[in-house]
């Protein structure tokens, strides 16, 4: 019995590691192409250089696009985390009449193809006469990201004991005090993961941005435009930078979350 288990476990480990290698293979290929000195990619790489990286960093156009991406992602994070925190309380904390229906309706934007959603929003903006720009993209991202973040925070809310809130009320706290002193500190780990999800999903979003940014452009949009016409190694260079940025943020976010939890436990 133990032997068959060992063999099964080894097979599962092997398969998982293989799939992980496949998942990261294209990302590695992009990094490789960005260090290729010549304009057109060829493997094995004849000469490595960091020229395309420095050109990408120096480009004023790319600088503006990066700023737009950061601005959009920051605003999306703030707005969607606030809305989703309340959304998660309604999802998991309170028993109320419309809850079952609400739990299902909130999933619909996730179960909806983003290119179609982006187009629908473009039509909506057009119908009411709103000019699309980075601000409409913030709104579009929020519509899709709030349901995701609501689920992320809801998982934390399920593990939360509502009697703590009730005790605070009984001891004479106001609604705001309970929120600030009891509810938010208890939900903090979920809210923190929700913030990371919101920022990173907005940062990497392409289909919604494509239709809703108007004349502005985000990093994934710029990359796509250059992939279709006018490839330069700045495309994989910027793609790799965006990936590394996301990885650094995720790592830092994870470490901060861990430290805060350690300190809270101590």
């Amino acid at each position: 019995m133990a032997i068959t288990h060992k063999r099964r476990d080894a097979a599962i480990w092997g398969w998982t590691l293989f799939v992980l290698v496949v998942i990261y293979l294209p990302i590695a290929c992009g990094a490789l192409a960005s260090f290729n000195k010549s304009r057109y990619f060829g493997f094995p790489v004849k000469q490595y250089s960091t020229d395309w990286w420095s050109k990408t960093v120096d480009s004023i156009e790319i600088g503006m696009i990066v700023k737009t991406s950061i601005l959009v992602a920051l605003l999306v994070t703030v707005v969607s985390v606030v809305i989703a925190t309340f959304g998660a309380l309604a999802f998991a904390r309170y028993d109320w009449k419309g809850r079952r229906l609400y739990q299902k309706l909130i999933l619909l934007p996730i179960f909806f193809p983003q290119p179609v959603l982006g187009l629908a929003m473009l039509l909506g903006f057009n119908a009411v006469g709103i000019q699309t720009s980075w601000a409409t993209a913030v709104f579009a991202h929020t519509v899709w990201i709030v349901p995701v973040v609501t689920l992320v925070i809801a998982i934390q809310v399920y593990g939360f004991d509502p009697s703590l809130e009730e005790a605070a009320f009984d001891l004479g706290c106001s609604r705001l005090q309970v929120l600030r002193e009891v509810t938010l500190p208890l939900l903090w780990p979920g809210i923190w993961s929700g913030m990371l999800f919101a920022f990173l999903l907005s940062w990497s979003n392409f289909p919604l941005s494509l239709y809703t940014t108007g004349a502005d452009s985000t990093i994934p949009e710029w990359l796509y435009a250059k992939m279709v016409a006018g490839y330069t190694p700045m495309v994989p260079a910027l793609g790799t930078m965006a990936t590394l940025g996301a990885a650094a943020l995720l790592l830092a976010g994870g470490l901060i979350g861990l430290l805060v939890r350690r300190r809270a436990a101590a």
Binding site: D95, Q103, L108
Partner: protein, 301 residues
């Protein structure tokens, strides 16, 4: 839970409490409801409006015609072909991913132990890299003189296979992109299987296949179904794979919608098509979700 505790409390207090909880829940849901009302429902209404507008016009809500739908259902229109491609590819993606993801989901629950959180993060992270960046990485891998071709030539072979810009590579791209959407619901589903139950069955002499078919699979089904549904729905709407990897060797349904909106500047026709896709997807989603208990899935005790 709370309801059971309250049942023993004095009638009036219980009712008071419930009334407060009811309004608090609804109030918390309000911002989300407003956001989705304006940002999700209203655009769908706009699409519906355009779908019944005069073809090639922008007379939304001012004209009414069924002409766009008639055009789409006309036998000479090839849009049904795109729809079939999309459905077929989505089904194939679901089937392949179910097989690919199941051992990993099982491993995350039973085998990996302390390494499981790290492995989960490694599977989540690609979601934070724009899908066109990842798909373009595959182009660099498969392209002539790319990583695969170059490696094979270096090893003395005549070169890599020409897979780029074929329907097959589109399917590969979809399987690649949607793996996390199958994996995580499946992992949540398998977490619902009590290990004691499996052990008990084994002690009583049940074979491995029997345990899998009679215990694991049925108990994990809600998660597996959500994963399949999510993957299927997202794959129906996939365009980037067919465009970047497939080189438009096939036209998928979302691409048809995009073409109507961009090149042919026929918003009403594109909207009519989007309405059909939307009705198909929401019908499927709502039907499947109505069968599931989300509280149990996500861990309410």
């Amino acid at each position: 839970m709370a309801d059971i505790a309250l049942a023993h409390a004095p009638e009036t207090a219980a009712e008071l409490n419930r009334a407060r909880a009811l309004s608090a829940g609804a109030r918390c849901a309000l911002p989300v409801a407003i956001l989705l009302g304006i940002g999700f429902l209203a655009p769908l209404v706009a699409i519906l409006g355009y779908a019944f507008a005069t073809p090639r016009s922008f007379d939304v809500f001012r004209s009414f015609t069924l002409e766009n739908f008639a055009t789409l259902f006309d036998p000479s229109n090839t849009v049904w072909l795109s729809f079939l491609w999309s459905c077929g590819f989505a089904l194939a993606t679901v089937a392949i991913l179910a097989v690919v993801a199941y051992p990993i989901a099982y491993g995350l629950n039973v085998v990996f132990g302390r390494a499981a959180p790290l492995i989960s993060v490694l599977f989540v992270f690609p979601l934070f890299v724009s899908e066109n960046v990842r798909l373009y990485g595959w182009v660099l891998f498969y392209i002539k003189n790319g990583v695969l071709d170059g490696t094979l030539k270096w090893l003395g072979f005549s070169g890599g296979p020409e897979v780029l810009y074929t329907p097959g590579i589109t399917l590969f791209g979809m399987v690649y992109t949607y793996l996390p959407f199958m994996l995580f619901p499946m992992t949540l589903g398998l977490a619902l299987v009590p290990r004691d139950l499996v052990d008990a069955a084994r002690d009583l002499g049940a074979g491995r296949l029997f345990i899998w078919r009679e215990i694991e699979l049925p108990l994990a089904m809600p998660g597996i179904l959500i994963g399949m549904l999510l993957t299927f729905v997202l794959a129906i709407g996939a365009t980037a794979e067919a465009k970047i990897l497939g080189g438009q060797s096939i036209i998928v349904i979302s691409h048809d919608i995009e073409i109507a909106f961009t090149y042919s500047q026929n918003w009403p026709l594109g909207s009519a098509l989007a309405v059909i896709v939307t009705v198909f997807i929401s019908g499927l989603t709502l039907f499947a979700l109505s069968k599931l208990d989300l509280d149990r899935m996500l861990g309410r005790r």
